[in-house]
């Protein structure tokens, strides 16, 4: 099966385009745009970790190492498409237009963080593993019923493929030819569990065969293959040809979340080696260097711009009004039931001016 599903690349690890048919399509503009976005996300991710360490936000799930998968796939979406991210895909969400402030609010335990910008159809991050997969199938099926050309993308990890909801979601989508792309980031670990203990297959792409849908295995650290293959899958979807499964093979450098200690279960030298060899940002940098278009000053400017944007978002997050307890009661139903009304009234009475 591994032979049937080789890891496809456009850019090899030295930054050379090895798929000639893409030479034309890879423009300086595209590359620079991707580079800027990945840089921005990486800075965000590191900032968030440091905010967590300082107790300024709660537990945080970093995605460093997976930027190409997230930026490349999100870039393939059209504005009206639906995105169903997990707790590790705020990279994709932010590059699709989610507000940085809200992403930070989410990690700071605020429901406000689940609200996407106006018009952006980004679902709140899926916490119970794989449960977002049927949602994406359903939202996509709804688009099909409305007769639009919109599609949906569902993100999930290697571990998520073990859950029943993965199976049920893919089966549902395949039966109804729903316009959805199932985008798997195979970072080869589910917390501490390596993929060999997660499944008896060498690839995730081959699971597509169980649903009669196209499946492809790609280098998730090669932003071009991620972008172009996601685009293809979305085109199929828009044309009514149904769902596809993409396995983007990647790696998280850091901990599962800031509450995790990866040295308990894996040799950290592997992450260090991968940073040198297969890093998504570095790879694109090498291509740009090969093209002679890599400009340190431009990078520095991009970094500064991103840092300023992120700092601004952090400030916004920190200036955000404190949690209003009314929110606990006001959004359970469109109209609160008597229980909730009474509980709200009682509680506000107890705390009076404020909470002890």
């Amino acid at each position: 099966m591994e032979n049937h599903f080789p890891i496809r690349q456009i850019l090899d690890k030295n930054g050379n385009v090895i798929a000639a048919e893409y030479k034309e399509k890879i423009t300086e503009k595209l590359a620079k745009d991707f580079y800027r976005q990945m840089l921005r996300l990486r800075i965000f991710d590191r900032k968030a970790i440091s905010l967590q360490r300082q107790g300024r936000i709660g537990t945080y799930a970093p995605f460093e190492g997976q930027e190409a998968s997230q930026v490349g796939s999100a870039a393939a979406l059209a504005g009206n498409d639906w995105m169903f991210p997990t707790y590790r895909d705020h990279g994709a969400a932010m590059s699709f237009g989610h507000s940085l402030r809200n992403v930070l609010l989410f990690w700071n335990g605020r429901n406000e963080g689940c609200i996407p910008p106006d018009g952006k159809r980004i679902f709140p991050p899926g916490i119970p593993i794989a449960t977002q997969i049927p949602h994406a199938a359903g939202a996509a099926f709804a688009e099909k019923k409305k007769g639009t050309a919109n599609a949906a993308i569902a993100y999930f990890g290697d571990g998520a493929t073990s859950e029943g909801d993965f199976h049920e979601g893919l089966n549902f989508a395949s039966v109804f030819k729903a316009p959805v792309v199932f985008f798997n980031q195979n970072n080869q670990y589910a917390i501490s569990v390596p993929i060999e203990k997660q499944m008896n297959t060498k690839t995730i792409a081959q699971k597509s065969l169980a649903y009669g849908m196209p499946g492809i295995r790609i280098d998730g650290n090669d932003i071009f293959i991620v972008y172009f293959e996601t685009l293809k899958a979305l085109e199929r979807a828009r044309k009514g040809e149904g769902p596809s499964l993409i396995e983007a093979v990647t790696w998280r450098y850091g901990a599962h979340t800031t509450a995790d200690d990866p040295s308990k279960y894996r040799d950290q030298s592997e992450s260090r080696a991968r940073r040198q060899e297969t890093d998504p940002v570095l790879r694109l940098e090498r291509w740009m260097q090969n093209q002679g278009i890599f400009d340190e000053k431009w990078v520095q400017a991009a970094e500064e711009e991103a840092t300023a944007e992120i700092d601004h978002a952090v400030a916004e997050m920190e200036e955000f009004p404190p949690a209003d307890p009314a929110a606990i009661f006001d959004h359970v139903f469109a109209e609160p039931t008597w229980q909730i009304k009474q509980q709200k009234e009682d509680y506000l009475k107890v705390i009076g001016g404020g909470r002890e």
Partner: protein, 331 residues
Amino acid sequence: MKTAVGAKTMTLVQAITDALDTMLDERKEVLLLGEDIGKNGGVFRATDGLQAKYGESRVIDTPLSEAGFVGAGIGMAVNGFLPVIEIQFLGFIYPAYEQIMTHASRLRMRTMGHFTVPIVIRAPYGAGVRAPEIHCDSTEAIFTHMPGIKVVCPSSPYDAKGLLIAAIEDPDPVLFLEPMRCYRSAKEEVPEGRYTIEIGKGKKLMEGDDVTVITWGAMVPEAMQAAKKMKQKGIQCDLIDLRTLFPLDKDIIAESVQKTGRTVIVHEAHATGGVGNDVLAIINDTSFLYQKAPVERVTGFDSPVPYFGFEDHYLPTPVRIQHSIEKVMKF
């Protein structure tokens, strides 16, 4: 809002079909999802003829996958549709429990109203029809404890139609329980066209000053029979059909208990953790000083619903209800 014009005599399951038909006709966002609901018209024929009338794009047979189609239904609801999902029997809803618990019921709160899930999940429930195991569960309490979803349970054709239409129009998820034992056991006049019954309101079926009897769904006929027997013995029951299990109708309970001071609650679910205890809590909270006797609960036992050879022993009967009425009267 259309006004009902004529009326027809129908069974509870026919009233369900009629409600679905009415709403499929009125609102193009309504669609039905479930196993065997198309050509087959559902295993209880609740969707009989609807696929022929509205087409496969509105009445959709799904794969056998409750988590899958409830999950997909959530996605469709978020994206503008009003899915009415049939679970073949309540005992087969458990694979979808996670989707209901962590998504359908929470999405409004999670997103402070940005995304909402206006779905209805219909499920026949209860024992007493000699069905195989797991087909007989009455596990409403695992949903009434779940904030963010309403739970409705009619016992008559008229209520069934009006409540189902209200559930479909409700902007939040509603679990709609259908007492399969009552599906064809009685007929009643049901208005044609659209009408609604307010979710959260119980109904007085009999007026009496001596003892309050509170029940719902398939236990309504049993309680009614017991109440009639008691009447012959000179004890007047105030008989309440709750109709909605979350939110409970606090006022109808308090009003009645404050009048009678004595209460018997009847449900077929297990005693421990049953919705009867929520009724008890309302009595505690609203009517403590009016109580003349401890509340009696006549319920299914704290054992799994047994195989049908034993189900008549398991289910509350008019005799057991009478015993409890006499007990609270004698206290």
